[in-house]
Amino acid sequence: MAAGGLIGGAHATHRLDDLADAVGLKPKPQPDPADDRLLRSAATAQAALLAAVEATAARHTALELAQFVAIGREQLDALGGSTAATDITPPPDDQAAALTALVTAYRSESSARAKQATAAASPELARVLASMSAGLFQCARTVGAA
């Protein structure tokens, strides 16, 4: 099942409450349907990013990306996603090119989460997505400095 699948259907009503609980925020009782779509989209993108980080970590062990894998899992867990059946392009064989690709992916996802945070109706979802955006930005900076 793709990451977004866990959030759809009957799960949708409670997903934002679970998310708010996971990060210590007060749950909102009735999430906006548009927010569920935002959440599903963010989880799918986050699953793809995590898969890319994991693949890069496996191919280039010298890069020591374990902390970034852990961060990615924490973020994906908060969104209620799964990495199962996530298709990604294999990372470049060249280590420097692989790092560059990761930095680009982190920056892109940071911008995407910021836009989603701006659009979110729920204050709790807006905060979680904005915080994720900042966390992804930190990852881009740190990976890029390696």
């Binding site: 961060i71 908060a78 807006a126 904005a130 915080s131 966390g135 930190q138 990852c139």
Partner: protein, 134 residues
């Protein structure tokens, strides 16, 4: 319930603290002078932005204090820790604003959050999954 004004006042109080702290760090530790100067300029400009936003709302901005309790500052490591702690507090204040504002102000708050998350790294923090969240 926290209002936009409350959250902006909290943010301004932290910016006042940053404008107080960074010159102190720069003056005490040569190895941190350049970094502290850059941080001071950034926070001075941000303080002025937040002041302007509060005045535009017709609110009297909180005043700066004579000094702040930032913990010990007897070594560069302690100075870095004080800076990290302050920047983390600013991240939390920005994130509070994200949840109680919309559109342009929310966008501004998100940009501010990313800037403070970057500053946390600059002062030695490790990357986190959720900067600004408890």
């Amino acid at each position: 319930m926290t209002t936009q004004t409350d959250a902006l006042q909290r943010r301004l109080a932290l910016e006042h603290e940053a404008v107080w702290l960074y010159p102190l760090i720069g003056a005490r530790f040569d190895e941190l002078t350049k970094l502290a100067r850059t941080s001071f300029v950034t926070h001075r400009d941000t303080r002025d932005e937040v002041l302007a936003r509060l005045r535009a709302l017709g609110v009297e901005p909180v005043a700066t204090e004579l000094s702040y309790d930032v913990g010990p500052l007897s070594s560069p490591a302690e100075a870095r820790e004080a800076a990290r702690s302050l920047e983390a507090g600013i991240s939390a204040a920005c994130l509070m604003l994200v949840g109680i504002t919309e559109d342009d102000v929310r966008q501004y708050s998100i940009k501010s959050l990313i800037r403070s998350a970057r500053a946390e790294l600059t002062w030695g923090a490790e990357p986190q999954a959720f900067p600004g969240l408890p």
